[in-house]
Subunit: 337 residues, 2 copies
């Protein structure tokens, strides 16, 4: 049985959709049990079946856009549903956390309450972004380490490879380095160091440099850069999708034909825009923590949240964390700082 | 009279459209004369009116995608239409260059044959990108200086401000620093140094940090970062626009309604996609050279190329270069390295 800790209070439609998502997960996934962290009374309103579901009372919700998430987590360690769910990983009461609560608070909380896995130097936030072909692409590090040593990026890329292989079922996942040109030697000194390291490694297949003009149709499964650059890429994708949506809307007031086209295409683009929103990085996993933390979309409804739980169960079942741990163990002489 | 040097041979539809564009410019802009650099025989085929137009024979064309643009420029200094046009700036035979030839060759050639203006430390490539509101936004440095000192970025931002004010007629242009968060203190150490410098300057109005999720709808007129980051932003915008175009196309095979919507909206998105293409950064100006060099779109037709010439004339007439020179002169004690 995998024990999934669910932050029942975080998210636009919490706790209703989270609780219904949890019940759906229990129904469809036989090898999990769920611990719901939240307001006991409110949870009971929606929980119509408590099979394999426990409740832990933790009613406080850290608001979206909280300016000081670190303080918010620390000050509400005992009462925040998110903080309690996260703490359950370190105390080994649960195997994974799923939350659709405030992203910044979740990241801060994860670092304070879950902490890194032994030997893993820098965690990475890894959203899965849509692509033209329909094949998912992992983008990392979408935030966190603005500067990083190439060796630490090697660890992150390896983690992403194991994840892509075991959870996304991509055979022999390929890693691409985000850069301003495709040829070897392009980019900053840092990018070149990473390139050389990746070129020589046996840990994963390295495609080489990829320019972000292929960001939605990449020749690789994993796109990696430092936490500054990858965050810029993620937010530029979001901004362009948003902007193009608005331009389409503006067409509503232009020609008749444009009007109809815009109206009809809008729905598809809106869907895409939501999928790409930085606040909404749905199903983003934080790599390198002691145990898996999954950020479900803030706007998650039943099915979306259920998917987050399913993802958590898949990660546990596939033994992603163990596989990475085994590798780190094998890297003797490395000292955790 | 402003003397515009035109590379008649560079571009997908050269020399026909370039020559027709030049004749259109002569007709509409009374205070310019044009020097056409190219294959004399071919030019004569299309040149039906040589009023205020001179021809300099330079038939060689540096191909798009040339792998070693520096070598290509150096090896064909006497015969390349692009190289000869660029060299005319340094020899004071012309006041500005317009070319729709290979971007990398043009940049390399500009650095070799035109060189920087006195006191300006790092040139910047500054495409004007479309926005939701229709107001143009200057993005820089879209390529060139992967790492740069904050003081040099101050010069670049000031150049962009003068350009926005004098050529784009934006009153009191506002500069935004591309960053991963909006609050002061966000980003790398470098971004913070730039922030502090921009915050204290009287040279332009500083908005503060802007996240690229507003890249097509920014609260500023100029978006600036180092040459690596701004290039990543430009290419991610291009990639997202391309990808969304493909996703729309994919809808053609989905539902009937989606099909119609996609068909009708496609034309508008295609237009946008072209406008955003990195190879096609239309009317991108290189800031900080001895004299202005304008990169017109490779796919320029008559009107597009005419616009490039008009832009060159506007830059000359507005005295952008002189204004920046005056400022640099006033910064005594600065030594050109």
């Amino acid at each position: 049985m995998y024990r999934i800790a669910v932050d029942a209070m975080g998210g636009d439609y919490a706790p209703k959709e989270q609780i219904q998502g949890a019940m759906l997960a229990i129904k469809n996934i036989p090898d999990i049990e769920i611990i719901l962290y939240g307001d006991k009374e409110k949870i009971k309103e929606y929980l119509t079946n408590d099979e394999r579901i426990k409740i832990v009372h933790a009613p406080f919700v850290i608001p979206m856009g909280e300016h000081d998430p670190i303080h918010a987590i620390k000050a509400n360690k005992e009462t925040s549903s998110m903080a309690r769910a996260l703490a359950s990983l370190r105390s080994d009461e649960a195997d994974a956390v799923v939350s659709s609560g405030a992203t910044q608070a979740l990241i801060a909380g994860a670092h304070i309450l879950v902490r890194r896995m032994k030997g893993f130097k820098r965690t990475a936030i890894a959203p899965v972004i849509p692509s033209v072909s329909g094949k998912p692409t992992i983008l990392l590090d979408a935030g966190g380490n603005l500067t990083i040593r190439p060796e630490y990026m090697l660890q992150q890329a390896y983690f992403a490879k194991i994840y892509a292989q075991e959870v996304l079922h991509i055979e022999d996942p390929v890693v691409g380095l985000i850069n301003i040109g495709t040829e070897e030697g392009k980019g900053r000194e840092f990018d070149n160091e990473v390139y050389q390291l990746f070129k020589e490694t046996d840990l994963f297949k390295f495609y080489g440099n990829i320019e972000p003009k292929v960001c939605l149709d990449p020749p690789c499964d994993i796109m990696i850069s430092d936490g500054f650059t990858a965050n810029i890429v993620m937010k530029t994708i979001e901004g362009t999708a948003k902007g193009m949506g608005k331009i389409l809307k503006a067409n509503l007031t232009s020609s008749f034909i444009g009007k109809i086209g815009a109206l009809l295409a809008k729905k598809n683009l809106d869907k895409f825009k939501t999928a790409m929103s930085a606040e909404e990085i749905g199903g983003a996993v934080i790599f390198g923590l002691y145990k898996p933390v999954i950020k479900a979309q803030g706007a998650s409804k039943v099915y979306g949240f259920y998917n987050g739980i399913r993802q958590a169960a898949n990660i546990c079942r596939a033994g992603v964390w163990d596989k990475v741990s085994d590798y780190l163990e094998s890297q003797k002489g490395d000292e955790d700082e």
